[in-house]
């Protein structure tokens, strides 16, 4: 089962993800908010299973606060989980790409022929009543725990989300030969 939207690559013992068709900055309410000078947090979660679908090898969550400069018409992205990073003056495509790049996953310890499955999930915190969104604007705090909680339940009604995109089974050997792309 392969999601068409996501491309998987292996480099230096790391799984890299890209999703050029997932235009989370150029769709719906998040885009409307960004073009209204608001900062919009996006939660990313990637889960990797190894051996079988009952064994989670690793779950990676992160949060990116994106804003769009009304005058320079470029994007700023702040990765808020450790290690914290910030980039500015990006085009929309580059901003989306940068977020996926930060989600690269270390797969040390996984056998080359071990079957793997992966799921990717993106959610915008575009509901002002949500604690995560409030956290981004200084009302209350958020934590990595809240990110996990965020993805442990279905998206709220009206919440912008992309995915989940699921892929597998595949092996690292297959990825080393060529990136896996949805067909």
């Amino acid at each position: 089962m392969w999601a068409e939207e996501v491309i998987l690559n292996w480099r230096d013992n790391r799984l890299e993800f890209s999703a050029p068709r997932v235009r989370f900055l150029e769709e719906g309410k998040p885009m409307e908010l960004l073009h209204n000078a608001e900062a919009v947090p996006f939660g990313f979660q990637i889960t990797l299973w190894s051996g079988n679908r009952n064994h989670i090898f690793k779950t990676l969550t992160d949060r990116f606060v994106v804003s769009y400069g009304l005058w320079d018409e470029k994007y700023q992205v702040v990765k808020t989980q450790s290690p914290v990073r910030k980039v500015e003056h990006l085009s929309v495509v580059d901003a989306e790409k940068w977020c996926w790049e930060q989600m690269a996953m270390d797969v040390t310890g996984i056998g080359a022929t071990e079957p793997l499955w992966v799921r990717l999930d993106v959610r915008a915190e575009d509901d002002k009543g949500s604690p995560l969104f409030a956290g981004s604007v200084g009302e209350s705090g958020i934590s990595s725990t809240s990110l996990v909680e965020l993805f442990s339940r279905p998206p709220r009604r009206g919440q912008s989300h992309w995915g989940p995109y699921e892929m597998g089974p595949f092996t690292l050997d297959e990825l080393k030969r060529s990136p896996r792309r949805g067909s």
Binding site: N36, A37, L70, W71, K74, T80, V137, G138, S140, G141
Partner: protein
Amino acid sequence: MTKLCCLAIMAAGMLAGCNITDDDEKSAQDLNVNSHYVVESVNLTGARRANISNLLRSEMDGFVGARYDQSALEKLAERLKKELRVPDVQVKVVRGSAPDNLVVNFEIEPTHEHVFDLNVGQFVYHSKEGWSGDGGATVNLHGNAFSFGLVSNSDTLIERYAGIRARYERKHVGTDRLRLRFDFASFHSEWNAATLAVAPEGEIYRDRQSFSPMATVVIADPLELDFGADFARFRVPLPDQTGGEGAAAAKTESSNAVVSTLRYHQRWGSEHDPVQQEANASYSVAAATSVFDTDREYTRHMAKARYKYRHVHNSVEIGFLAGMIHGDAPLYERFVLGDSTTLRGWNKFDLDPLGGSHVVHGSVDYSYRVLQIFYDTGAIWDAPQQREQKQSVGVGFKKEGFQLAVAFPLRAGRCDPIFYAGMNF
């Protein structure tokens, strides 16, 4: 420079991982690239600036010249929403006229107008005069409001009048600054024995109707001017038949006047703030002259002022009114003291059973939470030698429009209290 940048990012990252305090708000702004820009102007759409308190207005103006702060703007939008009691206030941001400048617009979503609305305007029980009340229904269609109501009132005038009221109103005539309304009323009047005993012949009417087209212009917030006319007709029994069994014969008189009211309303703070102040003042004049083909020629002036100061649960309210009539005004235009809002505790028929042509009155109300105490003083007269200051005090409970009070006239001899109960009086 790079180190400084990283420190800022780290601070922003920490915000994402722990509770944010006010001290961290500057760092929180690093999350939004637009915080580098300066706010050029702040506008309000969907409501007049005069409708919001001075405090919020000055806070709005305080954003001008400052760096864009999404969090602070959203907090202000939330306070505007509460103060104006509207479904939503949106913050819309666009580029300003100069590079790196932004224009902020607070867009007020209007309250959904109910197509059909029922209301009870006032309802009061006075232990000497009985019940008074009015209620009605309003139909709102495309910015036009049609109201119809029933009234029975023995409180505000020297007569008990009962009947119907109808109104057409348009709140926006091309602009928010101009409103139009047409009022029609038809009342049957009943009289107290004390009034009948002293009323000159030809003053007591049984029925009256009035039609009043009015326009309201917002001169400059918060100053408004009403102007229009009041055309009234009333049936006066012929002199030899007044009060008699066969008093069917009557003549119709008219009282046509041009009327105008200058009104000021200002408030500082809102009910959500610990300190709130509100000031209301008005001056109205009605002039009925032969130009309007009137049977009664008179001029009526009235000035009112009211100031309220609230600090948390304590509030003090000071009221003042003064009025003067020259000429031959019908009884419903004459001033009354001793009702549910003036010289509370006095019986208006003891003070002046015909009403007066001159009045002056002041009151002080103090309340703590629901407990209320008040002091009234005033005088009503026709001739200067009749002028005599009266005073009264009272105590009661008041909560969200509902009120229960007992008031005593301050005078020598017997002192009969008067009880009041009801809402919106």
